[in-house]
Symmetry: C3
Subunit: 341 residues, 3 copies
């Protein structure tokens, strides 16, 4: 009975170690079709080869979150199988678009460890990098999780990485060839360009989606995410299956089309947290807040930094008077997207 | 909060206006696989490249209703977001097959408006046209919907288009190269050719499918249909999600394989209505009535005009003594298909 | 009402007859993506073109069970529409991998009939063969089912085929070019090679998946399996839909990654039975027993014969003291897979 892996425990993470994640994955148009079936995704650059070509790309790339989910899924058996909590993300940058036919591999470098005062768990920071079959970086991001300790040995030396609060505009990578100077706002679905948004503006994305068990399990399996809490109803005392946080990310991002149809590509993940668990039957809504607006040197392309909040409740509400997330809030994400100026 | 669109109201439709629908969509083999997962589709021409090639086509086209659903989905934000009811279809014609890799765009011309006597809503007729990346017409059809009025302004001049009761046989477009002279009935699944059907014949398609929430939402999202009644369980007082009428169309058409396996391609939509709403848990069955039989000039190819009825009840029952649809009837569709003579 | 087929009855099967199954099917990358969404499949050879190329293949083939399910689905209207029970499998061999773009056709030869003593049903044995568009055999297997008799005519002469208890190692077909001499165990996900397994060893695959109605219906439709018990909740008195036994096969095989990540390709189906029905809401787990280990003449490639058991209960438990399957056991499958030595 020793052929299966029990996963890594806190003691197994040594700062500087690089973990090669298993099971490379080739993604093609089937994954794209499924993405459109699973999420109400309508951003034109990810929907139409013609639209993408008019924006200087060879054809329509897979959704940026497909890259994220696939890379994340690969890390689960090595990083979060024994995780107590998924604590945060930082310094996420999309470097190369994901094209149909690409094969994704992933590695993670351990960049920090800090044992908890209870001595039974600790926080592990990893910098995960996904690459395509040419070895080009697709995506890199830092994630930290709380992991159970196997034994009662001494605590390792604490290393806490110094992480940027947000990715600098100068570090955003704009896909080669991307050009919004001839951007077709009518086909994209909304007339709003970067200059129409103001910092502090809150956008209610209006629509809601009630989530079913079959949907989130199809999605989570598609990304080869093996965390049993998502699939096994006998795993929790209440018989509920915890919905993969990334499923909520994609739902919220897709819902944000309604008001942010021109926030076409996600290029950085500044931070984010899964505020409350999401379960089947929940009706997920989304709202965004404009955090920052920036120019880039690419033709016609600006950058917009957004807070994207998924909620079961009303738009605009994030935290209570006590500073804690409102119980209806599911996700609080901070990202940079590209938008025509 | 003004970045999202509230959709068009009755006053916004001016006869002669042409609306460009947003978000072009490239469809490939992923959409085809999903179509086969969502519906019990078995028509050989849409299932096998070899069978399609033996019928003179370069390879297997996507199901004709994929064209319909994708084009229809594009129109929702502009035509039916504030619709009270989807009233009917007419003069639908498939002009060019949908090939994997095609990008679909859609426009609608307003061809009629008629305010209701209550002064709070009106009927809008549009002729919608879907095109591929070469600008070729894929599909054109007329649809009319009842739309809410925004205000209390005066009624526009009434324009009611003069619509054909059915598409003329001479106007049916047979895909270039299609040839049924060497048609393989064994591989197609049934021996019945056009001459085996008689006008007035009723065919009970026997099988039933019980519908789940996850299925109709996957389908409706795949067509980028944004109508919130299909996705948001909080939208109706009874907590039900209304199933997209086109989902029932595809279910019924796929079920009709059993008895109409050789009605290979849909080439015209003469009319149709969604008689009663369909909800998850309903078991959908189908029956057909042969309305008309016709020859065409294409090799080995005839045309069969069919009434296709989706029902939760027994085959053959359509309307009660009062002329109203039986409460079990979900869909009443009138279409032309191509069949080997 | 005579256009639909009532299916074949026991009297319709004549030993020596070859039945051509209808509806050829082209499968591509969409089917692969759906396979990964429906099952927690992670075997690297079926996940990554790069991994497959490093093993000597041109690219990643579709999962071996996609071949099985698609071929099986084609046989349903001719073999099991009136089946009372699916009794067993034997002599299954995968001959050629299934590549994206292949078109599958299937035929079955009747190789045995035996009327039951009650005179109302009988057992039919067929040898089913799936072929690709080049006429190459993809898969061949024997299956026997109990089928209802139409009338009360005399029993046919009994013919019971002499079936092998297991496929001989010498008869296993190793895909052309397959070479495990440079096999990357890190990317494959586990370090265990053939030599690490011992006959009699039992592996608990640990994970469980709770099954939803939408999932098994999507899968079963994807294989164009038309058996109404899987789709129509009104078909049984208890309102349950019986899950296609092949769905449980694929679930169990995918779960077996955890402990058998290097059992890369299924090359033979020695036998198997669906011990108990599976319904939505069941949490499916799996365990394997190593039955036999063998060398092959192909570079770096060995063969492992495995019993794969799907269960709702604990690992290792198969039959009770009475010799009957434990009520929790769903599937008992005996197969050969290829594994690096």
């Amino acid at each position: 009975m020793t052929k299966t892996s029990a996963g890594r425990f806190f003691e197994d993470y040594i700062v500087g170690d690089v973990i090669t994640h298993a099971v490379p994955r080739t993604v093609k148009m089937g994954e794209r079709a499924l993405y459109h079936a699973l999420y109400p995704a309508r951003h034109a650059l990810h929907s139409s080869d013609m639209f993408a070509q008019a924006c200087g790309l060879p054809f329509s790339p897979l959704d940026d979150l497909v890259t994220f989910h696939t890379v994340f899924g690969k890390t689960v058996p090595d990083i979060s199988l024994n995780a107590v909590a998924n604590l945060g993300y930082a310094e996420g940058r999309w470097i190369t678009p994901l094209w149909p036919g690409d094969t994704i591999t992933a590695t993670s470098e351990v960049i920090g460890v800090k044992e908890n005062s209870n001595g039974t768990s600790g926080v592990v920071w990893v910098r995960t990098t996904g690459r395509n079959q040419h070895g080009d970086m697709l995506l890199t991001y830092v994630r930290w999780v709380m992991v159970r300790k196997r034994g009662s040995g001494p605590a390792p030396s604490t290393v806490v990485p110094d992480l940027q609060k947000a990715v600098n505009v100068a570090d955003l990578v704009i896909p080669r060839g991307l050009d919004f100077s001839g951007y077709d706002f009518a086909l994209a679905g909304e007339p709003h360009r970067l200059g129409n948004y103001t910092v502090g503006e809150v956008i209610d994305h209006v629509d809601g989606v009630t989530v079913e068990e079959a949907e989130h399990m199809l999605a989570t399996r598609l990304w080869q995410n093996t965390a049993k809490v998502h699939f096994d109803a006998t795993n929790r005392a209440d018989g509920k299956r915890l919905i993969y946080g990334g499923h909520v990310m994609s739902l919220a991002r897709a819902l944000s089309f309604n008001g942010l149809a021109n926030a076409q590509m996600i290029v950085a993940l500044n931070g984010g947290g899964h505020a409350n668990p999401c379960f089947a039957g929940d009706t997920v809504r989304a709202w965004s807040e404009v955090l920052e607006i920036a120019e880039t040197s690419a033709p016609g392309i600006g950058a917009i930094r957004l807070r994207l909040v998924a909620t079961k409740g009303q738009a605009g509400l994030l935290r209570g008077a006590d500073g804690k997330y409102d119980p209806d809030v599911l996700l609080d994400l901070d990202y940079w997207a590209l938008m025509p100026v």
